[in-house]
Symmetry: C2
Subunit: 207 residues, 2 copies
């Protein structure tokens, strides 16, 4: 499993010409870092007398960010298997007409799955971002800059996931599917750069 | 060493209330991912007949991105030692006037070092970003989306590093130092969000 590898090894493999990990796993890792930073601020706030008033809110944020962090790690692994399926489909025989048809269908199916993984990641990134304003407002003020770093990581991951969706949609022939996924992506991206800037403004005001 | 830890362990520790790793190491990891993705595109381009014309340019980019990636990993480790020095200084005795003076001087010195680490990271992020336009233009078109993910990671890391500089400057009493570092930071940040958007536009045009 990719996520069990040492950081330096993951980075060495990412930097190499090896087929995996690729930009999809990198995007999932960016998102996981974002979720982990929200969790960190939660962890530094729960149980502190000074923040007794917001205990329940912070615990709810922490539970959510931890679930999202684990989802990002799952998606980091899924990205590799999605990529493997696409590569496998492209390597299918294409001598007879029947083989050509089967290969093309397998490629299209694999590409749809390879689109679903970054789309799922994009949705997860939006959820991470949405936790940030309350976390920046109520979390331990000594760690408030970490919410800002978390929001930066989550928003970069959202846009990275969008690139990974787009690159797959370019090879999918099902026009209805492409239209729906484009619309879904647009709605996920909409307003999120601005949300990130608002979070950073709140963070800088509390620095 | 932090960078030798498995990804999941690093993320578990990041999400916890443990003093390290913190937002500084997270920012360095974001930047390392950015540099690694530029390297990946370079690695997927060098030695390919189709890209023989740009061989030298790509090799130069690859050498540079690899050096920057290793610098980011060094800074990931430095961030922990900088944080440790600050914590240690704050724990110095402060019973006598002499002790108070020594403690205050040690804190100020440690904070200046804790500012130098993210400032160095911010400079490194700018260098990573500057490699992206040529890499997106000349690199293997099949990996062009990865340049985009790299630029997103590097720009998020730049802004994250800036937050980490700012949080330390807030406790530094040397006004001349603060003024100089604020100006330096501003010049590093200037125009980089736009540069990232331009890189993404180029990437999307080649998708």
């Amino acid at each position: 499993m990719l996520s069990k590898k040492p950081i330096v090894t993951f980075l060495d493999e990412l930097a190499s010409s090896a087929p995996a990990p690729g930009g999809g796993s990198a995007a999932a890792l960016l998102a996981a870092i974002g979720a982990a930073l929200v969790s960190m601020v939660g962890s530094l706030t729960v149980g502190k007398a000074k923040y007794a008033d917001v205990q329940e809110d912070i615990q709810r944020i922490l539970d959510h960010s931890e679930a999202l962090r684990h989802k990002c790690i799952d998606l980091l692994e899924s990205d590799v298997s999605a990529y493997t399926q696409v590569t496998k489909a492209y390597k299918m025989p294409r001598e007879t007409e029947e083989q050509k048809g089967a290969r093309s269908a397998a490629i299209q199916e694999a590409l749809k799955y390879a689109t679903a993984v970054p789309m799922d990641l994009a949705e997860t990134c939006v959820e991470i971002l949405k936790l940030c304003p309350e976390c920046a407002e109520k979390g331990n003020v000594r760690a408030v800059s970490d919410v800002g770093v978390g929001a930066l990581a989550a928003e970069a991951a959202l846009r990275a996931a969008a690139l990974n969706v787009l690159i797959n949609l370019g090879s999918i022939k099902d026009e209805g599917f492409c239209r729906r996924e484009h619309a879904r992506l647009e709605s996920l991206l909409s307003g999120k750069a601005q949300l990130k800037e608002e979070i950073l403004k709140d963070v800088e005001a509390r620095l």
